[in-house]
């Protein structure tokens, strides 16, 4: 919600956005309703729950997992998730030998259809600068200690490719249904800054 109260001046950027939206609306370039719809979609209808369903399916169904790792975008589309910023997906499997983590050092590329819009820290200079130079130190700050004998692979998004991590199923996943497994998968697990 907006923190703006009527007796406080709006910030420069809030005024700038309002001015740009008004002028672009007057020119017929944008429409208020369309902006409302797309903002609502990305705020409320898409998010890491989508990715969690993909991960849970892969944990339960070996054939699905094989399709997901071979060619991720069509496998993800099987669950109904596709579109902008997910056209060319690559899913990276964590194993007892390899831990994967994703970044976009140059900007903020992120797999929107499965994870929604990225958190601010993912887009921030400290994460982008440090995760490629000292990944184990950054992961430790997130509370994830990666053993010395596990290789850490950091994947830097390109202009086209969007990555997502397939975490290892945790011990507590044993005997759970696919629907219950969805709850064990976090956004951070699919970025690679958490175990799952």
């Amino acid at each position: 919600m907006s923190g703006h109260k009527h007796n406080e001046p709006e910030s420069d950027i809030a005024l700038r956005v309002k001015a740009m939206e008004q002028l672009l609306t007057e020119k017929g370039i944008v429409e208020t309703n369309a902006i409302d719809l797309v903002a609502d979609y990305f705020e409320n209808k898409v998010g890491p729950r989508n990715g969690a369903r993909v991960v849970a399916r892969a944990w339960c169904d070996a054939d699905y997992k094989a399709r997901l790792l071979a060619d991720a975008s069509p496998a993800i589309a099987e669950l109904g998730y596709s579109g902008l910023q997910g056209e060319d997906m690559v899913v990276l499997e964590n194993t007892p030998q390899v831990h994967n983590v994703i970044v976009c050092t140059l900007c903020s590329c992120y797999p929107w259809p499965v994870l929604g819009l990225p958190p601010t820290w993912y887009k921030s200079p400290p994460y982008r600068a440090r995760i490629v130079r000292e990944p184990r130190a950054v992961l430790a700050e997130f509370g994830l200690e990666v053993a010395d004998d596990v290789e850490v692979r950091v994947w830097d998004s390109s202009a086209e490719i969007r990555y997502m991590v397939l975490p290892m199923a945790p011990e507590e996943s044993a005997g759970k249904s696919e629907e219950e497994l969805v709850d064990l998968v976090s956004r951070d697990g699919m970025i690679g800054v958490a175990a799952h």
Binding site: G3, H6, R16, A34, A39, C107, R128, V132, A159
Partner: protein, 106 residues
């Protein structure tokens, strides 16, 4: 191209600061900015690479200090100007009008 955006591996940054239960948008203007950016590029004939490049061309101090959606909007302003869609002066004149309205009704 070398530039401030090419930040991977750069030294000197502190801890990664996280926000508990971070909302998707932090203010209504971020929501509006996302929507404006979402539709405008295709309507003025610019693509995602041009949007990124416009962000990369922001002055380094702005790049490091402006918030994420603020950078989007400042970059979009560049593209609006370069495509002859809207000038910065038009945008800032409208901002002044809006600020006056606020004062009048405040």
């Amino acid at each position: 191209m070398d530039g401030i955006h090419d930040i991977g591996g750069m030294h000197g940054f502190g801890p990664v600061e996280r926000e508990e239960n971070e909302p998707v948008f932090h203010a209504d203007w971020e929501r509006r900015a996302f929507g404006v950016e979402f539709f405008t590029g295709s309507r003025i004939g610019t693509n995602g690479d041009q949007s990124r490049h416009a962000i990369e061309r922001l002055p380094a101090d702005v790049y490091l200090t402006a918030s994420y959606y603020e950078k989007w909007m400042l970059a979009l302003q560049t593209l609006l100007e370069e495509t002859g869609t809207l000038s910065r002066a038009e945008i800032e004149a409208r901002m002044a009008e809006l600020a006056n309205e606020e004062t009048d009704h405040g």
